[in-house]
Structures are given as C-alpha cells and as structure tokens.
Symmetry: D2
Subunit: 342 residues, 4 copies
C-alpha cells in the first residue's frame, strides 16, 4: 500500500503514518520527492485497509497495490477453474449454453422449452421459480411448485438445472431441487445470501450487479469462496448506462478483463442485458467470440404469451439457429460448445 502525503504535510504527520504502519507489523518505506513524501507499507498488504490511513491528517491519497480479493484471483489459483455440473464441464476452453424460460409457468411450458433447449445443444436448463420483480404487483413466481417442475423436467431431458434464490430462508429448499443456485444482479451484494449459499455444496452462478465494478463482483465471489464453496461462475449481464433503447449496457470487455485476473468461469446473459430479442443473438455470438465460457439465454416456447420479459425471450427456432451460428465461432477461437453426454 502506498500512502501519498499532501505537499504541505508536516514531519509529525509523516511520523504518524509511519507509526501506524509499524503498529500493524509492516515495514514503512519513505521516499521524499521534490514535491511530496510518499510512504510504502511493505509486507502482507492483506492486513491493511485504506481507511487505516485515509483518516490521518496530512494524507492526500492511499493506493492499494494488491487486489483486495484473494481466493478469486489468479495469484491464488493460476489455472482456470474447471468443474463438472451434471455431466457438463464448466470453465476452461468449453462453452456451456444455459437456456430456458424467464419464469417457470407450467409443466407444459417448461417441458416444451426444455426439449427445444436439449435438442439444439444446450448444456443446462434455466427457469425462475422465485422472481425478483421491480413491482410488488407483478407475478413473483410459482415457488416450490415451480422448483418441482424444473427438477422433473430437467431429469426428463437430461439437463442440469439453474434457478435463482432470492431469500436466505429459501436456500435449503432450492438446494433440494436445483443443480446450480443463481444469485441475481440485484442480490450481488446481499452478503448474507452469499454467505449462506457459500455453505452449500451446489455450484453458484453469480450475476454482476448493474452498478458493480469488476472488483466488487470479485469481492462478492470472495464471500462465497471464503465460505467454503469453490464452484462459482461469474456472469456479466449488463451495467446501468445512459442509453435508453437497451435495458442495460452489456460490458463484454468484462469477459477477458475478469479472465485476466481471476480463474473463475465467466458467462454472459445477453437476454437481460439488452431486453430486446433482435439484439440477443448478435450479443450471444459476440460473447463467445470475446471468450465467454458460457451463456444464459431466455427461450420460451411461445414468447408472446410469456408472463414476464416477453420482448427478450427467443423462440425455439431462433435459439436453434443461434446454436448453429455459435459452433463455428467457438471453433474459430479453439473452443467448443459442450452439453451432457447422454
């Protein structure tokens, strides 16, 4: 950590910083420049917080040198994390396409969607039983009944299932039915939920919050990892921007950006990011070209009848076409779209 003193900082103020570094068991290292004094704190920076110094008189700014996350970083785990979920390998050079309706609406709807996903080469099945809705007057999901449908249909078609958990009190329930627990964008910094799911043995799909920096996303992953659960998939799904013709601004540069500093697999959700069907496919292809290790795409047998997010769900035919276009792009960069073997 580097502490930059104000140009007029006194000797006493420099001394106070040095003493605090000493107190913390690190070694201070003073550089007196022509204009300012700069103090390095040498040693295990994980013992430090910028706030230990930011409050001291005469301090201009505090610059951490080390990343604040550990278990999520490539310094801790140099190679890509790769793990198996229900017969599909996630991470590394494989690409897994997780698809299904926004909301589980009925047994028929789910089965029709699942068969279409399976047939087109999808690797996982998604569907929401507990829906975080902006309005209290919107449909909030089928709850446990929906989970049962998802599990049954997933087994029937041979696809592992992903569903969102929105309440710490539901974690045990969802664990009984789903193969992957999803944490939605709005809950990315629901730290209690992160800690609870970190205690389960299910893989986690953690979505980036719309105002979260990449460092904050990795810090949230760190909550899960440090609770003992090492199977975390990160998911870019758009950040809040000023453009009004798309719902969010999909930050695809986050894919290689995260992969440079973290070993965790990175997925992309083009459906929620854009909110518009005609943009979903180009963004799915672009995500794969950017190096994404998976996608989450909304597919509904009859999007025009969907109870939520009608404008962004693909028809089975559009999804199948997308999967056909994906394969050669994956190949072009030495990757491969994966699905459960049987």
């Amino acid at each position: 950590m580097i502490i930059v003193m104000q140009s007029k900082a006194s000797e006493d103020q420099v001394g106070a910083v040095v003493r605090r570094i000493d107190d913390l068991g690190l070694k201070p290292h003073i550089s007196k420049g022509e204009f300012r004094t700069i103090i390095g704190a040498i040693g295990d920076e994980s013992l430090l917080r910028p706030e230990f110094f930011a409050g001291l008189a005469g301090v201009d700014s505090v610059m951490p040198i080390m990343k604040p996350y550990k278990l999520a970083s490539r310094d801790f785990h140099a190679d890509d994390s790769v793990f198996e979920i229900g017969g599909v390998r996630v991470g590394g050079s494989g690409i897994v396409v997780c698809a299904g309706p926004c909301c589980i609406e009925s047994d028929d709807q789910m089965r029709e969607a699942a068969l279409a996903v399976r047939k087109a080469g999808g690797g996982m099945l998604r569907g929401g039983a507990f829906k975080p809705r902006t309005s209290p007057y919107s449909f909030q999901g089928m709850g446990e009944e929906g989970l049962k449908i998802l599990q049954a249909v997933g087994r029937e078609v041979g696809l592992p299932t992903v569903t969102e958990v929105v309440d710490v009190r539901d974690v045990d329930l969802v664990v009984r039915y789903a193969d992957v627990l999803q944490v939605g964008a709005r809950n990315m910094q629901n730290f209690r939920l992160l800690t609870e799911i970190g205690r389960t043995d299910k893989p986690i799909l953690l979505k980036r919050g719309p105002a979260a920096t990449i460092e904050e996303l990795l810090m949230s992953a760190e909550y899960v990892l440090s609770s003992g659960n090492h199977r975390v998939i990160l998911c870019e799904r758009g950040v809040r921007g000023f453009e009004t013709t798309t719902r969010y601004t999909l930050d695809l540069s986050a894919v290689p950006n995260i992969q440079g500093v973290s070993h965790l697999p990175v997925f992309v959700d083009p459906s929620h990011a854009t909110g518009r069907r005609e943009l979903v496919v180009p963004m799915a292809l672009a995500a794969v070209a950017a190096g994404a290790q998976g996608l989450i795409v909304e597919v509904h047998p009859h999007p025009e009848k969907a109870v939520s997010d009608a404008a962004q769900q693909l028809t089975p035919a559009a999804f199948a076409k997308m999967m056909n276009e994906l394969a050669p792009i994956a190949q072009a960069i030495g990757r491969q779209v994966l699905a459960p073997s049987k």
Copy 2:
C-alpha cells in the same frame, strides 16, 4: 398505455393488439397517422404491463402513461406524509438531522457521539450494528451487542435510533432495539427484506440504490407500503458515476424530483455519497437548500480511529459547526431544523 406500431405493421397485427386490450377489459383507441398507427388502451392502466404488448408482432414500442407506483404517489396521497418518531416530526416542512458513527464500536464511542449529536441539535441517532461490507474480510459489525448499546445510549440522550437491517432473519431482533429500520442502498431491491420490514410497525429509512432510477426507488417503497407499513422515508445517497474523486455522484435534483411525484419524506446522506469529509458539509447544506426533509450524517468522536469509513466521518466540532450553518439556510426557505422536545 400507448402502443406504437411499426411503420409497416399489418392490419392483422393491429387487430391482435386491439384484441388483447379488449381481453384485459380496457377500451382500445386507434389513431391512424400518416406513418404509423398508434393504439391507446383506455381504462385502469394498473391492470396493464408493457410486456403484455411488447412481445406481439408489429409492435414498435409501448409507453405507459400512468406511473407504476400507486401508494407512493401524490395521486394517491396529495399532501406530504408527516409522522412522528420518538418525539420528532418527520416530513412536511421540518428538517431532521440524523447523525452518529458509521459503526457502533463500543459503549463509550457511542455515548460520546450521541452526546455530541444531541448537543448540536441532531434529531435522531444512527449507528450500524450489522454492516454490509464489500469485503468478507472486513469487520461486519457488533450485532446484537451493538443494538443494545445503541438502544441504551439513545434512551440516555433522548434520541430515537436508526440502524440498518441486512437479513430477513434479523428483522425481529432489530425491531426490538431500534426506532427506525434502515434498508441500505445495496438492499434497495432485496424484495423479501422490503416485504418483511413492511410487516413491522417501525418506520423505514429506504436508501436509493446506486444504479436505481427514481421510479425504481419508488417501486421499492411500494413494496413496503403495500405490505401495510406507511411510514417510509426515502434517502438519496449518491448514484454510480464515472468521477473517481468522489465515491458516488450525489444526485440532489432527486430531492425536488421525488417530492414532485411522491408524498414521502426525502432525506439525503452526504457522507456515503461523497466519502470525503471536506465535501460532506457543503453537500449537507446544499441538500437542505434543495428541500431535503432530513439528513443522515456520520459523526465519530475520533474519526481517525474509526474501524470503517474513517475519511468521511465528521468530528463533533465539525458537526456542531454544520448545524449552525444549516439553521439559517432552512429558515431562508421557510423550514426549520427539528429535534425531540426534551
């Protein structure tokens, strides 16, 4: 609700929209322009969702005319909501300054802060017992022990208390100790938490999320209101922006903007918004001039020793000076800073 058709929409596509409006029990109203057909859905718009139409073929865009929130709107409740909390009137033309340390650290620290707040004319006491921290390795708060300190000190100095609840499972616990339940910015769309606190009889201080529009903030308030709790205070605390020298970008125009459409009291938190002590006071004064009905300000007896947010906490002396500057500004716009009478 207005449905704008694409310029090449067919008669059949127009017909499908009209049929759906009929099905929903509203009256369609067709305007054929030179370039496009526009369809109005006349009747109780609260029965409608844009997604009922956005998925239909030939639809270009869907424009709601009514606001999606009801109980929070001035259409529902024309006058300012005013309610009493522990002897202080909140809302309307009064201004309540809620102050105290970021984090409850000890009995002594809390008492020293509380006495300073009370003496300078503060109207409520704040302090965090459960802290939502970006890093799992940071101090997460004293928990119930902290709540006990807060309650005892609040009673001692005669100030109602505000503290954050971060977990649905803690609601009952916090209700036992605090006078106002705070929902932090990161939990603004933790809908389960909103519903649970909506079932309590404690007033709620709901902070705006860093990526939340004003409409989204009011929809979150709507969760609380529609659960039966009508005492909701909204709080602007900065939105995510691109400027790196402040923590967030404080959107003070949100104060009159919200007050124009909602009857709920609007507070401002200049401490978390800026993250820098020297900006807290000017922003506190500006918030009052903009019409804020309250402030939340961090005050610590010894900021340089604080375990969190050291750089943004005011000393008791700086806080007292701020309170002195506030009074005439409040007066200039016909308002008054309020505190419990005894």
Copy 3:
C-alpha cells in the same frame, strides 16, 4: 407526437395544446382517459419539436413517435449503404479492417506499420496527424508533414488512408491528403465541423461521443448527410462508464442496435475503448461476431516506443494473429474480410 396532459389539466389547457397543433398545420386527436387526457398530433411530425408543447401549462410529458433523424434512417433508405473507398467496398456484408499507429511519428514508423497492416490483410491505413490531447502539454501531432507521410505510404502499400480532422480551418488541407476524414469522439457534436466535412466529397468516419446516445450519434450523422455528403461510417468506441480498469465501456450492442434503425455502415474501435492491448483482440473478434462492418485498430511497429497510447497499440505480430482469427468468425456469420484487390 403524443402530448400527455397532467391529471388535473383544465379544459383551457387542453384547448391551448390543440390550438398549437392546429397552428402548426397538423391534426389534433384527443383521447380522454379515466385519469388523463392524451392528445396526438397527426401529420408530418418532422414539423414538430417537443419544446413546442413542453412549455405549455398542464402538459405532463411529450412523446415523439417518429425518429428525429431522417436521412440516416432505414425509413429513408431501406437497404444497407454500400460505397467504395480506394478499391475497398464498405458497408453491407463486407468487413474492412482499418489499422495503423495512433500517431504518425516518422516516415519509417509509418511505412513499417503500413507494410504490416497490408500484409496481414488490412483494408485501410490509419494514422493521426492532428491529435486531440487532453493535456496541452502532450504532443499534438506532426500536422501537414504527417499528412504527407500518410499519403505517400498509403499509395506505396496500396491502402486508402483515414485521418482525423480537428479544426474546421484544416478541412481543405486534410482533404488534399487523406481518403477518409475521421471525426473523433470529442468532436461528435462539433456541429460546425460536421457541416464543413459534409460539404467535402470524402467519406466520413464519425465516432460516437463517450456520452452520446445512439440517437445523438445519428443526429450528428444527419448533419453530415444533410450537408450533401452521403458516405458516412459510424464508429462505436466506448462510452463513459464507472469501471476504472478499462478506459471506456465498449457498447457492442450498439452495432446491431444502430443497424436496425440506420442503413449506414457501423465500425468498432476496440483500441480506444479498452485502452489495454490484451483486451483489444477479444473485443475485435466480438465486434465482428456482433455484426460490425469494420474495425479500427491501432498497430505500431514498436508500441513500447510510441509517443501516445503505448499500452493499447498492437504489435504487427499480434495484429496478424488477430486477422487470422477474424476470418473464420466473419465466415461463420456469412461475412468476409475485404481489402483492396491489388
């Protein structure tokens, strides 16, 4: 255009809106809903501006139905605009990669770069002679001497050239030397410059400003088009976001988003958007997968010696590798990377 009245608007206020629509030669169309009156203005909306109504008493909001741009829209020109520049076809299903150094530094540097670009299959040569620099103390470019180098080297290797013009007084000068005039992101709303280059017969490469919506970008293109110059290429190069580890946030969804409403070719600049060499290649591949009709990429023979933007310029070897990966991705979506034939 639709004018939504406030819920308490009087008959007189409605009458005033209706009169103004009449005055403008359009036909008013009144829908009285249960809660609000909505007034449509039927006829040629291009005669209208929202501000004609926004200032009237009783008006809640004004919603334009038609896009404010005309010549740039697909309503005006349904098919993709395709035009030839120095032997390369731009627009439609072709992909043109424009590459070269950020800044023209010397004859040798430019030649070395140009040969590398040509050899790897690049379709145009870029290089800055007039550099818009944030700091007045930074190198501002070689000026006319640089233009001469660019022209000579472009002819030598057989590539048309692109260079930025930053001053209306330089337009004639740059026209004499370059094949394409670039308008940088910071000048996207320098309307005088847009008008001047709109009077030349050179194709224009117009970059999106970092805070510009897609509609604003198209309105800036409209300045050029309405001045008589129909060969405009739009370029996404990142918008301002809150993430600090990239320079800008590349909005790749802008590519299909713009292509849906406009016939103009859309390029992407991954170099300025990310500012980091290791992100340039993944974003270039993603841009092509998203449907971009061209790229602008910075290539420098010796990036570590570059006078500007050192961290984002590719080496010739990295560029050649990128071009090899691009080809099969283009093919996967039915497109082809193009270069001048000889």
Copy 4:
C-alpha cells in the same frame, strides 16, 4: 510517478523501467516488497507521462502522484482567483447570477428579459446567438444580428454579457460584441477552440462536458490558461446519468471538489442540467449553499413562446422570487450576491 511491476516481473523488466527513468533525467527509487517491486520516479513529474512506462513489459500499473494540470491548480495559485468583469467581481466570496434567455430571438425579447434580470439583481446577461443544436433541422441562432442585440441591450441595462462561441472562425466576431466568451459542454474538448479563445483578452466561461471528469475539465481550462488567458470561470452543468426524468445529473459535489484543488471560480447551470423549470430553483439554491461562486440561469419573458428549451426557462417573476431566496442562503455561509454597482 509510481510504477508497479507485475508480481512475476523479471529483473530485466525492472531494469528497463529504471533505465527509462534515468533517461528522462529523474531518479529511480526501487522498493522490493514481498509480492511486488514498486519503482518511484523522483523529480519533476511534469516531464513524465504514464505512457512512457505503460507500454513496457512487466509493468502492472502506473500511478501519477502529481496532478496533470498546473496553472489551474492551487499549488500554482493558492488563493481564489478573483477578477472584475464589467463592474462585477467574480470569484472569491461573491456570487454572480448570470441570467437571460436560452436564445436571442428579437430585440424586444432580449430587452424584456434583460430588464427583468437587472431588476431582480442579476449580475450578468446571457443569450445565445450561435446555438449548438443536436438536430441540423433546429434553429441555429441569429448569428451576428443576435450579437448586436445582446451588446446593445447589455449596455442599455448596464450588465456585462455572456454568449457562446461554437466555431474558431467566429472568435474575433464574438470578441467584438460580448464581455465573456462561453464554451459549451459539447465543446469542452474542442482543443483548437480552447487555444483560440485563450489568445483573446476576454474572460472565459468553460462548461463541463457531460462525460468529463473533473480532472478533464481542469485540463481543458489548462489549454486556455496556458494560451495566456487567466480569467477562466468553470461551470458545472450536469453529467450524463441513467435517470430519464432529468436531462442530466447535476453533480453539485463538483463545486467544493473543484474548489479544493483549483483557484478558479466555479459556477453552476441548473437550467441545462435539469431541463425542468420546477427543478431549476431548488438546484440554484442548493448550488449557492454548496459554495458556487455564480449561477447561469435561463430567463425568458414568455417561456411558452421560446424557440428552444421552453420547459426549462424561468419567467421573470419566478426569477425574481429565486433571487429573493438566494440572498439569505448566501448570507448564511458568509457570501453575498453581487451585481454591477450602477
């Protein structure tokens, strides 16, 4: 400047950085930490650019210690810059309210506005003769005829005048008629324009661009200052945000934030920032409470007839009421609203 090496940087890579520092005539200072090597470059940092190091192998990040602006900084000029413009003192503890219509429309309109501004205590008169309009089809201003009106009316009522210059070729013309040259937000990084107006002897009102950081604003001021013109007023007018109910997000914390690092006066434009009349007054009051040294407010004798920005212009009555509320707020923080003496 501090250069942080990657954790796996080799001795050779460290050596290359050290050599470059030596070559530039500065002194390298190496700190070998447990995890990383950090190199300081001691000496006159103004000789350095981050790009001198960012391109070198093994470099993780480069952190400037000194601000990149000089003449605009308090290090260069510790006290507030104060200068006189047509009988009004700008800067320091005074507050100058500049008001007038968005657009000069006629002699009568301008005179009526000017008399209202003067009577209510305004200190300067504004009016646009050259308007930067998003659409080429919108009214672009009266040009020189407008300038003549502005000058004549300004002299008549005894107020110095402010008007925008949008083209380097118009600088001489505008200098002949106006007392202050305004650079609009969209031209904040039109560096040629900045250089040209920097050569005049007129004070400059420089607006912050909607995507500009505070540092970038100060760098643009540096262009003017380093061209020899020391009378620069900075103006916050809202940055691009995601909220759709206001035009921009007014960043009032920029006022004390800039004042902390720069000696230049800081004004605020609440009219363009919000775009809504009912938000202009609260934001004007808040700006003064935040410490702004001036305001620019749009006032039109008949806003409902204005040719541009109708929804945001105040009536003379509303402006007079605002001025009455401003005075005691200014007083509360030890400041005073100023106007020309006669």
